[in-house]
Symmetry: C2
Subunit: 699 residues, 2 copies
Amino acid sequence: MDSFHTQHAPFGAFASFTLGLLDAPGGFGQSLGGPARQNVYVGVRPAPDQPWRMLPFFERKAPAESAFLGEGAAAAPAGAEPFEILHPPRFGRSLGWASDRWLLGPLVFKLCTPFEHVPDPATLDAEAARLHFAPLVCGYLEYDNTHCEEPVELLFGVGLPDRPWRPLADDGMPFVGFAAGRAFSYATLPSPEVTARQGFAPFAVGYRDATGGHRLGAESALLFTVPAGQKRIYPLVLAFFQGGPVTTGLACEFLYTRHFADLEDVLTHGLTHHAHYVRLAAQRDAELLGSKLSRDQQFLLLQATHSYLGSTQLLIRGDRPLWCVNEGEYRMLNTFDLTVDHLFWELEWHPWTVRNTLDLFVERYSYHDTVHMPDGRTAAGGLSFTHDMGVADQFSSPGRSSYECRDLTGCFSHMTAEQLLNWVVCAVTYAEKTGDHAWLEAQHAVLADCVTSLHRRDDPDPAQRNGLIKWDSDRCGPGGAEITTYDSLDASLGQARNNLYLGVKTLAAWLLLERAFHRLGNTTAAADAGATADRLAATLSVKFEDETGLFPAVFEAGNRSRILPAVEGFVYPLYLGMTDVLASDGRFSILLGQLGQHVARALQPGICLDAGSGGWKLSSTSHNTWFSKIAIAQYVIRQLFPQALTAPARAADAVHAGWQRQPGCGAFAMCDQIHSATGAALGSKYYPRGVTTLLWLRE
Amino acid sequence: MDSFHTQHAPFGAFASFTLGLLDAPGGFGQSLGGPARQNVYVGVRPAPDQPWRMLPFFERKAPAESAFLGEGAAAAPAGAEPFEILHPPRFGRSLGWASDRWLLGPLVFKLCTPFEHVPDPATLDAEAARLHFAPLVCGYLEYDNTHCEEPVELLFGVGLPDRPWRPLADDGMPFVGFAAGRAFSYATLPSPEVTARQGFAPFAVGYRDATGGHRLGAESALLFTVPAGQKRIYPLVLAFFQGGPVTTGLACEFLYTRHFADLEDVLTHGLTHHAHYVRLAAQRDAELLGSKLSRDQQFLLLQATHSYLGSTQLLIRGDRPLWCVNEGEYRMLNTFDLTVDHLFWELEWHPWTVRNTLDLFVERYSYHDTVHMPDGRTAAGGLSFTHDMGVADQFSSPGRSSYECRDLTGCFSHMTAEQLLNWVVCAVTYAEKTGDHAWLEAQHAVLADCVTSLHRRDDPDPAQRNGLIKWDSDRCGPGGAEITTYDSLDASLGQARNNLYLGVKTLAAWLLLERAFHRLGNTTAAADAGATADRLAATLSVKFEDETGLFPAVFEAGNRSRILPAVEGFVYPLYLGMTDVLASDGRFSILLGQLGQHVARALQPGICLDAGSGGWKLSSTSHNTWFSKIAIAQYVIRQLFPQALTAPARAADAVHAGWQRQPGCGAFAMCDQIHSATGAALGSKYYPRGVTTLLWLRE
């Protein structure tokens, strides 16, 4: 039985209404690293003498009035209404790219989180900005009572674990609903068919004030009575608001606060433009349904999209927008390892956010280092960028991440080379994809610095260079060594030095630099980049083991791990359509041929297919596998090495989707680090990065 | 073994650093209804090869880095330092009126929460306002290493359950410490003897960034190295900050935000003026120690003071201060039942807050009603006031409380008569005590409305009046009836109509009105009030049961409960020194004689002394007893009826203090509703009202 949370999230509000895991709470979460813990009540009562039929999104709680009643607590509140909690197949769920829909007989409960192409905020007029940046989720309850002769009651409500609700009517708002202080709220349009309920218990109002509710109640609901013979759609708006500065280091506010005064303003906007948002969501849903992706592939993309949106945070710093994607459960700000993977999503939907992030990396999160070799030699290094920009709404100091530490050779070490490559591939891919050559021109010097830095990390002595990163940043300390983004895997992907994954990514970076310098008219630099790419390709080819038909993961110490991210670097030339370098009989024919053999051999059960589950494993020697990276590998392999796709390798989409649909991952919405045998999340929960699956729509 | 939390709270910030319960977390809490859940680390390491000796204020947690390491989590972090958690008698604690001190050999850990006479904010210059309203708690670590030849290490730290700390040094602050976003922080002055530690574990830094910490860490601490042969006192400042509007209904900000820019400004102020605050706390401590109160009585007053301060919230609404006391775990705003009991504290320390609250009750939380009798007769009523002004930072609509509901005869019904009496006794007591006769003049019409309303609740027909409240507000609905503040007790104190407690309080109100109208030169009204008081006294006297020597609690339905709040109303004339009406041979000699007999009979084991514990019970028929009200009864009885105090009745202070010192109450700092047999809190936890004990200092 499927059981998974989904983040229902507006664009850029770092907020989610999380719902879907069976027998679990969820609800409104602002800036959280996981689901909120609010009971959510959705149900129908066909007749007053029947129990409420409820979706299973709440936990039973002790009666809250006992704190007031001392020992005089009643066993059950007056007027308690019976209810039953349903499970599939008594209801159905249908998650779309921009909506989530539950079906319970004639009842439809839907939440919509439309997304669309978002222009640079600087180009938007006020009304367009409100439409794009409204921190809200639209939804509705629909019921077809056309053929019934009795009215039917519907219910939507939320129970807070730690505070009473505020009825919106108290402050004269022209809609029916509730708010939690100034932070979040839900509402519908007023109608004789709608009443509001508030109290200590969701299925009883034991105590009624002059308005029929009880303002001490942490439980609230909207009750809708669908008349006999009628069909109704009752709109819902779920709104978030956080005013004032929300970050430190760089003091920023949510950009939406420049366009909305408060929660009430957001609700008014949402109820006014409800149809627009519902329509937009339906359009996105239809687009994905109409794609060539399989049902499992669609599921992976849409579930990922929901978690990505929940991690997005559009801020304003003075009068300049500041784009931030928070790293899921870890809440690191603009982790560069994620930016580079969100690249494809953002270039499709809001490319200016890529530029925004790259600019901030240059402005505040870049540094120059010195480098060393394991044998103790040291040398000047060069430019690179931090792993992230801080954590939990706290921007770190200039030139420093929240993640990177000294004197380590594993998790939490520096990723100097990886982030340098990330800036290069993001910058060139952005400029090439968008045609923003003016920006590229402005980055000419930065790109030149990147080249110098890349070369020196290969070797400070030009005569010794073979293209591979071999020198470690002194930021690691004398005993430390750089790692790659694959920090929690074993050495096969962990070590940056002489690493196959990073080698191929470095090759891609040089190819992109070659193109960029051509574009910039810097033929000398272009020639150098091209020559370096060729040299590196030759170096890599030599590492190929003819006897096994595989590459080792690390070109040191006899490493024999096999990794799928060997081909990850090719995603950038592939994405940019650089057919010249991708041709199997072209410039890199030898390397591509070897990589084709490599992935064909690797995609076998017991190597990079889990022998039990059949899921893809990034490394043969670790059963910690990362879905977002699998998705990139799938894209590259299907495009460049289709012959490597055995039947079990092709079948794995169902395995990967199954992981996300079960509570092992699903309790935390989209998860990235997964145990390849059990499907349980090992980390990277509530995670935005699965949007790499957007690449699949290009196939 | 004593084990209890204490709220360490600045004035007016609705914030507490809660600490003291053994083997329990606590820490920074903003606007909470109970203790926070942060680990607090305080300890000493006599030598690097010895374990840390820690106060027991934390829970052991799973290593937080496992979320990052996937399956690669280390069993124990690198460099883990052993520690032992101490329990009494290995350390001592000494809680003062304005400080809390733990002694662990030569280590002193102290937190100071000085309070003082606070003038009306309108009269304060900027620097005085900063001194009074700084949202901070000062403390220090002191160690006498004079006679040792080795340095000693001290540690103070806090672990957050859900977010990483921010090192203050990151933003260039000239002190050493950590902040949680923009919300709270702790810091000390920089010194070569101080280092900061941040990571996933408090007793190890497995990962070190360029500054030696790790910004992903939710655990942080300050380490102090006391040199051999030296004595040191290291200052600590714990700061809170919440900017922008914090309430709804009435949009208010914390008044301190007009005087402090942010958390860093508060820390700077606190470290600059540290000595001032420590000195002020010592002065308060000494005052209470020098009082005639017994050790148990002192404990009850000082523990209550800490919780009161934690519930105070000084807001600003436009340019006008708005005073709010939050109702402990319930967080209702300015519950009038509490205002009337906080009256004595506030008139001593900041009388303008009483006036501020009374004005807001008139302006926004007053109403006019109609009334009815149980037999169905209805009539015009009059002016009264709501039970409270809202809940959880949400001001309720004008004329409405968050608490009061319709159609009830118990908890959550209306308290119309009680609140009317509360306004009268607060207003006259304020004016008489402060001499603010101008304000009383301005309230002349309101007082006249109160008189009309009081009379009509006795009986709309003047010929039928006997002084007792007998008509219920129609706000209760036709089947409902008013209750008193004693909402969770049984009918002996619950029902407003024909209630002994409310009758005597009504008598007090008329006596205060008599005095007020004399003051206002309204001799007609004064004469009417006096005559009504005499009539009511006569009515009450008739209810006395000569055969038992007791009053019944309710003059209906054969009620035979016995209650101590029978004498509560006399606290107001007693407080104002109205000796004419208090003389045992004077105007109310008969009634006072009867009440003296009543309390003497009631204060017997099995009646209003718990037969097991010996604690005072408010009612013979309920073992839910409220400490703050016991304290008032003790004051009145010791002053007016000392002969009623049997030895067991006198001994009960130890019982009452014991309740608060044990986890049954102490897990929630000061508690008010207590099971008289077990000492466990039944409600009203984390509660401000125990400051009624200030009255004892007048004895």
